[in-house]
């Protein structure tokens, strides 16, 4: 078989699109941050729509769609429906897309008051009553957590998609990464309040490596026992206002954390 016939017989590269909703762009940036692997990415998929990388776009449908950000406006709510229709496999990336992100804090406040303070002409602002993750609006095929996402996990999700296998992304606790890294538990050795036991792994237990308690950026782990960890924080001297803020942080709109934070109001 000559080289040219071989190439002609090769299937076309899957089309990748990256869409942004309410977010800081940090998770999309993780894709550009791949650096060493970036050429492999462009070799494996056709980057059809990714405004952060190129203004050249190709129309859908797309094989693999990465969605960053939360749905916070009526326009977002319509747009995500269109995107879902154009996507064969839709992956949400990051805390905003998977849980609503830090902007979900407005779900516990008066949004019209915010708009009055922030905008000169608040009447032009059209916003939904609550901010939410993508899965509250459309079916999502896979959720990749993190604030920001871990680029190795992103590459794993893309590689798994290309190979037609399940992504190897664990749902267990940050503690497991700590222990594999040889980091002793900070709660035990130093009384540091840490959300690691209720937070999903994926970051490589970054904060505990630097003797900081986990902030819960990756959201609740599987079957997160938030009340038991909250009781332990109290034993360590943490009071309700701080517990509320800890659970109502970057992933505060995730169901388990939302429920727990309400108990400390």
């Amino acid at each position: 078989m000559s080289e040219s016939t071989k190439r002609a017989k090769e299937p076309r590269r899957p089309r990748l699109a990256v869409w942004k909703f309410s977010s800081c762009d940090g998770c999309q940036l993780s894709l550009l941050d791949c650096e060493d692997e970036l050429l492999d990415v462009t070799g494996a998929v056709e980057i059809a729509y990714f405004l952060e990388a190129s203004s050249a776009t190709v129309k859908g449908p797309y094989d693999l769609v990465l969605v960053e950000g939360s749905v916070s406006t009526p326009h977002d709510a319509e747009r995500i429906q269109e995107i879902r229709r154009s996507a064969r496999y839709l992956v949400t990336i990051g805390a905003c897309a998977t849980t609503g992100g830090i902007q979900s804090l407005r779900n516990w406040a008066d949004v019209s008051e915010f708009t009055r303070f922030v905008y000169a002409k608040p009447e032009y602002i059209s916003t939904l009553r609550t901010n939410a993750g993508i899965a509250d609006h459309v079916t999502v095929d896979f959720e990749l957590h993190g604030c920001p996402i871990n680029k190795h996990q992103l590459l794993e999700v893309v590689s798994a998609f290309l190979a037609g296998r399940r992504p190897s992304i664990p749902h267990y606790s940050v503690c497991i990464e700590c222990k594999r890294n040889g980091v002793p538990c900070l709660m035990v050795s130093d009384g540091v309040p840490c959300l690691g036991p209720v937070t999903q792994a994926g970051c490589g237990a970054l904060c505990p490596l630097y003797t900081r308690g986990c902030f819960g950026c990756f959201g609740p782990k599987e079957q997160s026992n938030t009340s038991a960890v909250a009781a332990e924080w109290k034993r360590l001297g943490v009071e309700d206002p701080r517990l509320l803020r800890a659970f109502r942080g970057i992933t505060g709109n995730a169901r388990e954390f939302r429920r727990e934070s309400a108990l400390h109001e």
Binding site: D40, C175, I176, P184, D190, G191, Q223
Partner: protein, 383 residues
């Protein structure tokens, strides 16, 4: 190899300088020497060049869910109990690449097994409970039809300097399980640190390799006073440890109480975080992570520490067979104390107390076992 002055069976005495010389002798023979060092506010095995690296005058104060280092009033080099890191990490690494594979342009797949890099390593300061834990893991990884080559090579390359326990923590209960505070077997050299009548170590020789190393170190034969002092150290530790756990009837007691409502009680407190299983020196759960490259022409398989506390660990087609915290906690405790006996002929617990200390919410397995069996646990560290 035997040489001259000492018979394999005869204990000798080293002073602290002699211990320094022992470490130097091990290093001269090409051993990487790991010993207790202060790191991350804990005492954990790390490379040591000599006794100056050891935690002289430090101890650990342990309670369920709490570990703190404190100053001792003496200069003991091994005056602590056990730290968060067991020697398991050295023999059964947390991450191990098993193989990688490549596929060439013609679709031919070549698999390359990762060679073991077992470097001769001396473990200095292995506690009796930890020696027992290594013996238990030997049974897991090296007996039966399928053995673990990597573990075997690392194990053969290990030289064990055990140190008897003179200062157990409140979470320790080795004597209840017969694994301490004195070292039984399974060592190259076993030390008892003596502080009365001069700082020195009574050294028992457990192997020809241990005997050979000592030929490079100035020692003297042990005399009556040394044995009396060593017996005092161990008697004191023994008295402190007495009655902290009652292992009688545990095998059947746990199996018969598999539907005890207490499993729900402990599950309500358990974080399912897996700290207990990962600090346990005998827990051997593992998983493999397969990765493929974007181009689909490279793949790797990596073995990683896993835990029976993750939902995924018991995942089979269709779902997890231990879907609740209750079922996972029951699996862990029942396996550790009961069904382990059926599987490997011993208890899976050596009484080191790590799972108690390093549980972020301080769940004490001694109390949980007693509660599941419907008996009140009366023996407590600070009772």
């Amino acid at each position: 190899m035997m040489n001259g002055a000492h018979d394999l069976a005869d204990p000798v005495v080293l002073d602290p300088t002699g211990l320094d010389d022992l470490i130097a002798a091990l290093r001269r023979r090409g051993f990487r020497v790991l010993g207790p060092r202060i790191a991350d506010e804990t005492i954990s095995p790390a490379p040591v060049d000599g006794i100056d690296d050891l935690p002289a005058g430090w101890t650990d104060v342990q309670e369920p869910g709490s570990y703190r280092l404190e100053r001792r009033t003496d200069d003991a080099l091994f005056g602590y109990a056990v730290g968060p890191q067991s020697w398991k990490r050295e023999l059964f690494p947390a991450r191990l690449k098993l193989w990688s594979a490549t596929r060439d342009a013609n679709g031919e797949v070549a698999v390359e097994e990762t060679p073991t890099e077992a470097q001769p390593t001396a473990f200095v300061g292995v506690r009796p409970c930890e020696v027992e834990a290594i013996t238990i893991q030997d049974r897991i990884f090296l007996s039966g039809t399928f053995t673990d080559r990597d573990y075997g090579e690392r194990r053969s390359a290990a030289f064990i300097v055990a140190v008897d326990c003179g200062d157990p923590a409140s979470t320790c209960f080795c004597s209840s399980l017969g694994t301490g505070p004195a070292t039984g077997g399974g060592f190259d050299l076993a030390l008892t640190e003596l502080l009365a009548h001069g700082h020195r170590f009574l050294v028992r020789i457990g192997s020809a390799a241990g005997q050979e190393i000592l030929s490079d170190v100035e020692t003297r034969p042990a005399v009556e006073q040394d044995f009396t002092d060593a017996a005092d150290v161990l008697d004191r530790a023994d008295a402190e440890l007495r009655g902290r756990f009652d292992p009688s009837g545990v095998r059947n007691g746990l199996v018969r109480n598999s539907e005890s409502p207490h499993w729900d009680d402990v599950a309500s407190r358990c974080l399912g975080c897996a700290n207990c299983t990962l600090v346990c020196p005998t827990c051997f759960c593992m998983s493999v992570e397969d990765r493929s490259s974007l181009a689909g022409d490279e793949a790797t398989r990596t073995r990683v520490w896993d835990t029976c506390f993750s939902v995924g660990h018991s995942y089979i087609h269709g779902g997890s067979i231990r879907p609740s915290g209750r079922s996972r906690y029951r699996q862990w405790l029942t396996h550790k104390f009961a069904t382990w006996q059926d599987q490997f002929g011993t208890s899976g617990c050596v009484g080191c107390g790590r799972c108690i200390t390093w549980c972020p919410v301080g769940i004490d397995i001694r109390e949980e076992v007693a509660a599941v069996m419907g008996r009140k646990e009366e023996h407590h560290a600070d009772d």
